[in-house]
Symmetry: C2
Subunit: 345 residues, 2 copies
DNA sequence: TGTTAGCACTCCAAACGAAAGAGTGCTAAC
DNA sequence: GTTAGCACTCTTTCGTTTGGAGTGCTAACA
């Protein structure tokens, strides 16, 4: 069966009404709906067709219709009317936080949750290729050495190393020199045993320190546990009765707390390169997460530098206000672009 | 009226039963309760007294009784029978995480939530007096200086400073020397304008860098925003019907997400010095937080060093299993003591 | 041939009422 | 001081009823 112009219009009317009310929408409601002047009976016939085509369903006989995932998808793909972008008044607030990435992202999560009344997840920046830019060893007191590792993109990691006996200044300088000449510019796969052996030979007698430092370097290069995810607004989900039953709620909260969605975020960002921040909409099972089968998620990707990116996700009921969410996200992304640009210049 | 031996026993029976069932408990239930062989009628008389004294209430006439906050307090203060401590099998898991404080605390929150089936909050370590131990400036590349500030207790903070033109190695060394001689050992109140002026004079021409460094130092000393709080197990609260109504739930989740409880944690720890980790029980409104009026919270304090401490809190319904929670916490605290001891030696 | 009015039918949700059950307070007897 | 007994209260549960919303179908209409 063909999707006639009129059917499209009816679909749009159904979805719009349902987004607002959350109640199954009946033929009479649509009939009264401005544009098309058709009787409820005609609408009924069309709705019957649309149901057969899989765009809407009845929760039970003699109830109105609600959109299926396929119906939402149709709406998002072809009927969403890009709202003029909200002028977000976040600049002030965000910029105040901009000096520290973690607080910035926390604020983003929070502001976005307040703004949209949905739940949000923001993942911290991911670094694609990690190379050592620079290593520094410093004696803090007679039993502690501080190891600082600066990675590509000026990511700084530090860790204390315990030492059993004090090391003199020259030795520290020597070790610093050794480590830097040997390791700078390498990524984790390039630090092979040969190089390590070479360092140890030249270091002469400070093997335990070298080991400890290499350990720190290794951690810095591989550890992903500072792959932080900031969430906010979980409580907002409770406002949507269709999600608020206990069963589902426990699972949703769990998904949120455990940030399980994130595993799915690892997928390589398809660098189609458009300036559109790759905003994507996942409806119901499209999220690939079971507990989210009654939710939708809208994600966007922010980019700090080449190869350094993170994601922002907004989670709400399927009947979320896609227009608004997408517009808000687009606006926010521009904001973030500006902030990152300022920071890097 | 006096709290006779018998009344105490009845109270205990009421509370224990209520902790298990969560239902108002009637006189007949208590009458059948092993120890005391009294008829339900007698129990009724006693219960009537206990109600008058404010230890229990009826949700409505002709319902059983439930404990009031005062009743719970009586139980916690005088009737709790210290369970033999649970042997927690957390050692392995915790030690694996022990090398990084933040992951360690996250694990603590999570394990504790799983173990108890309540919600948990763990606050990161607080440093009471902050002094600069050591400052290091390093040139990372031609437009970035890395400032590292080590505080008392080997807390490390770092921040990048942007510079407009490259600085040569000797200058960096000189600035390092200047900063360290001037600032080491000082706390934030001692860094007055006189000292700052003196540094600037001696630095000669690098005022903007000095300013930037001082800014970083100031942040390091005052910023409390790495006063992190880790939460876990919020979903567990949903399992207790008396808390799971929407109204309350939204507020509780909010309290949790915003970590609002924490503001109350700032109170000076009363260093009564016992080795008992200052385990405290807050019942209902004793938490001082409105949304928690139907909850109880048990907190413990862990100490990493002198003056470096943090708190662990377990939040559950008023009818939480206080015995178990306290025992679990005690056991955990010993575990943590061990871990911290190992780390610092 | 497409549109509409009308009607019978279905199903849910809210309202109502009856009945059961749990528990109390009081009185009188032990 | 303790207990048995009884009347009373209040909640919970369950089935019944009723109203309304909405559909599908049929027949009439343009």
């Amino acid at each position: 069966m063909e999707l006639s112009e009129r059917k499209l219009k009816i679909m749009q009317a159904i979805i719009k009404t349902y987004l607002e009310t959350g109640e199954p929408v009946g033929s009479r409601t649509i009939s009264k709906y401005s544009d098309l002047s058709l009787s409820s009976a005609t609408i009924r016939n069309e709705m019957s067709d649309l149901e057969e085509m899989g765009y809407i369903v009845q929760p039970h006989t003699s109830a109105g219709r609600i959109p299926t995932d396929k119906g939402y998808r149709l709406y998002v793909d072809t009927m969403m009317e890009g709202k003029e972008q909200e002028v977000l008044d976040l600049k002030e607030e965000l910029r105040a936080k901009a000096d520290r990435m973690d607080t910035l992202l926390k604020s983003v999560a929070k502001l976005l949750a307040n703004q949209t009344n949905y739940a949000t997840m923001v993942s911290g920046p991911q670094y694609k290729s990690k190379r050592v830019k620079f290593i520094q060893l410093t004696e803090v007191d007679e039993s502690h050495l501080l190891t600082i590792v600066v990675l590509d993109g000026n990511v700084v990691k530090n860790e204390m190393i315990k030492i059993t006996e004090s090391v003199d200044v020259e030795t520290v300088a020597k070790l610093n020199f050794l480590l830097n000449t040997a390791l700078n510019g390498l990524d984790v796969s390039e630090m092979n045993l040969a190089i390590i052996q070479q360092i140890k030979e030249q270091a002469g007698g400070y093997n335990s320190i070298i080991d400890a430092v290499l350990n720190v370097v290794g951690n810095a290069l591989t550890q992903d546990d500072d792959f932080e995810v900031y969430t906010s607004g979980a409580k907002n989900i409770l406002n949507y009765p269709e999600l608020a039953d206990k069963e589902n709620m426990v699972q949703l909260l769990d998904t949120f707390e455990e940030k399980k969605l994130i595993s799915k975020w690892d997928e390589p960002v398809n660098e189609t390169g458009d300036e559109n921040h790759a905003i994507q909409v996942y409806i119901g099972n499209e999220t690939q997460v079971d507990s989210m089968k009654d939710c939708s998620m809208v994600t966007a990707t922010y980019k700090i530098n080449e190869g350094v990116y993170g994601k922002i996700g907004i989670v709400g009921p399927k009947r979320m206000d896609y227009d608004k969410v997408v517009a808000t996200l687009e606006s926010l992304m521009k904001e973030l672009d500006d902030i990152f640009k300022e920071k890097s210049t």
